[in-house]
């Protein structure tokens, strides 16, 4: 399977008055064509900045300081804004978190849809209108002929997100980035939107990056997962390995802190003690080490490389090193000690 996206050693930093905020600190991952990759992590872990970096939408004072983002072989970090507009909304699209504020209140839904369509194709206004109707039908908006003339304020939150999804898929993008697309919606609508995305993925044959802090959402639709913390990747795995056999203490902590719904059993949630690292002055070692129950001396000094646990799983934790003490459930592997 060929790679549609390869991110290599990406670093994105915000140069604020108070100092440098290192939001993303050297992450590498790739996405197979047709795959659905989940990026999970808590607020401030760098997942949104990663997606904005791919889109070339990191706002001042932020900047990609290092690394490559190869989209079908083209390094997006080398392109200027004008060249990026050919990719954005066309080859790569993005769906944002809050549908209430992400759609322009001053123009009709049809106007905004037609605009995206016409920006990347030679269709005239009538053809674009037809295409817009078709898109609204695809995303499940009832009575598109009259709804297309509506302004966003006449749409509910779920419908706005559907309209924004319609804009995002208007030009059959090869890569669709969804940044917490369901966070601002209520639970029943969340399920519908996820269902819609899964549905559309097959129709338009695109690859998806789904960013969320909700492991439940990840388990429902992704096939691979990246766990981010403090701007770094803690664990990369396929969905089954991650849930069955997490190989990073942070991933374990995350899984333990999900409320389980087993009738009759009273189980306490286990929180992860402490708070996320200050990205202005991140720990020199593993970002999770100050909160990690298994932290060793080396963890505080040096971040672990990604140890390859199996063909489908990698984790950045020193516990996988052959000299590390035995901890139940952690696999020792041969790794290069760079």
């Amino acid at each position: 399977m060929s790679k549609i996206l390869e991110v290599k050693n990406l670093r994105t930093t915000f140069f604020t008055h108070l100092g440098e905020v290192q939001a993303v600190r050297g992450i590498s991952f790739d996405l197979d064509e047709g795959g659905i990759l989940g990026i999970v992590g808590e607020s401030g872990s760098g997942k949104s900045v990663t997606s904005l970096s791919i889109m070339g939408l990191v706002d001042d004072p932020g900047r990609i300081v290092e690394g490559e983002i190869l989209f079908e072989g083209t390094d997006l970090t080398k392109l200027d804004q004008r060249e990026m507009t050919k990719f954005r909304g066309n080859e790569i699209s993005m769906i944002f978190q809050d549908p209430m504020t992400s759609i322009n209140p001053a123009f009709t839904v049809g106007n905004q849809l037609r605009e995206v369509i016409m920006a990347h194709s030679d269709l005239n206004k009538e053809q674009a209108h037809e295409r817009a109707l078709e898109l609204l039908r695809m995303v499940g908006i009832p009575d598109p002929e009259s709804r297309i003339k509506n302004y966003p304020y006449q749409f509910s939150g779920g419908m706005r997100q559907r309209a924004l999804i319609a804009m995002a898929i208007a030009n059959n993008p090869k890569l669709l980035i969804a940044d917490e697309p369901t966070t601002a919606l209520d639970v029943t609508i969340q399920a519908q939107i996820l269902e819609l995305m899964r549905d559309l993925k097959d129709k338009i044959q695109s690859s998806i990056i789904l960013i969320t802090h909700d492991l439940g959402v990840i388990s429902e639709i992704c096939d691979k997962v990246i766990v981010m913390y403090g701007g770094m990747i803690m664990e990369k795995a396929d969905i089954n390995s991650l849930f069955a056999n997490p190989q990073h203490p942070y991933t374990r902590g995350l899984l333990l802190s999900i409320p389980t719904n087993v009738t009759g059993k009273k189980k306490r949630l286990v929180p992860i003690e402490g708070s996320p690292p200050d990205l202005m002055d991140p720990p020199s070692g593993c970002p999770f080490s100050p909160r990690c129950p298994h932290a060793m001396e080396i963890c505080l000094k040096k971040a672990a490389p990604l140890f390859k646990i199996s063909e489908t799983q990698e984790a950045s934790c020193w516990l996988h090193h052959k000299d590390a003490p035995e901890v139940k459930g952690f696999v020792k592997v041969e790794g290069d000690l760079s």
């Binding site: 004008r82 990719f87 909304g89 209140p105 001053a106 304020y153 924004l164």
Partner: protein, 310 residues
């Protein structure tokens, strides 16, 4: 919709009625009268003048006869400009004020708004600082200074720019600059801050993420939303600018109505004071209505004549 405009018209008429009434009685409450001089006129002459203009009637009688006149668009005779009615003064002066005012308004819109946008886009860069310093100067330096500097440095040096009057199109430049300085600067600042606010909105990011050109993102998606506070200011401002300025019309010897706003008060020229006030108010009310219509065009959530929630 028509019902809405009828309602607006009725409320406008009522407002004008109140303004005329208040101005009438407030002017009468000020000591002195149109024929008070430093060297008093003989009492017989004052009595005769008062009789001629019916100023010897009880105030309430004067009020009703004046209101009757206003109802038929007759603003009465001027006490100072002999032989002329207030209608004549407006007819003679307003075109001059309006023409200069129109050019000034064009300056404000064509320079103020783009400068504000550029400033916002280049926030904290050199050009932003330059524009904002100029805007501060524009707000603080009074129009008579601008007018005098213009005459001294430009129109008196360049022979083909007339210094006074409105004899050729170039003559409008000076008075329009002096008249627009404050508002132009204010509009630039207003546009800048409103634009900065809008550029941070999520839908601007969505427009960028959809691959729209920067021109469309700024000129369409951001600008339309950023204009609301600007329109709020510009509407009433147009009414003020079109009715001229005492200072600017004096310096550039323009035959306008700006001076009557000042002179009529000094002269206790009752009819001119009320006439000017009502005229300005009517223009103001029209502009406010246009602003409301502008809102409804820009923000689809604002529907004229409907309660919110309908």
């Amino acid at each position: 919709m028509i019902g809405y405009y009828v309602k607006r018209l009725l409320s406008a008429l009522f407002t004008l009625f109140l303004i005329a009434t208040l101005t009438f009685f407030m002017m009468r409450a000020i000591p002195g009268g149109p024929f008070t001089r430093e060297k008093p006129l003989p009492p017989q002459i004052i009595a005769q003048l008062n009789a001629k203009y019916n100023l010897d009637d009880p105030v309430i009688v004067q009020y009703f006869s004046y209101m009757k006149g206003i109802a038929t668009f007759d603003l009465g005779p001027s006490f100072k400009e002999l032989g002329l009615t207030v209608n004549d003064l407006i007819k003679q002066g307003f075109p001059g004020s309006m023409k200069v005012g129109f050019v000034a308004v064009m300056f404000i819109l064509l320079f103020g708004i783009p400068l504000g946008i550029i400033s916002a886009l280049k926030q904290n860069k050199a050009i932003d600082h330059v524009v904002m310093v100029m805007a501060t100067i524009g707000v603080t330096v009074p129009s008579f200074v601008v007018a005098t500097l213009y005459i001294y440095f430009i129109s008196s040096k360049i022979s083909w720019i007339p210094i006074t009057g409105l004899s050729n199109p170039l003559a409008y430049i000076g008075p329009a600059i002096a008249l627009s300085g404050y508002s132009l600067s204010y509009v630039a600042r207003l546009t800048r801050s409103s634009m900065l606010e809008v550029l941070r909105q999520d839908y601007v990011r969505t427009a960028r993420a959809n691959g729209l050109s920067e021109w469309r993102v700024i000129g369409k998606h951001a600008l339309k939303n950023a204009l609301i506070p600007v329109i709020t200011y510009v509407g009433p401002m147009i009414a003020a600018i079109l009715t001229g300025s005492f200072v600017v019309e004096r310096i550039f010897s323009i035959n306008g109505i700006g001076r009557y706003f000042v002179e009529s008060v000094n002269n206790r020229d009752y009819t001119v004071i009320i006439g000017m006030t009502v005229f300005y108010s009517a223009l103001y009310i029209v502009m406010v209505l246009l602003v409301d219509i502008g809102y409804s065009l820009i923000d689809p959530r604002i529907k004229l004549g409907k309660r919110s929630g309908d």
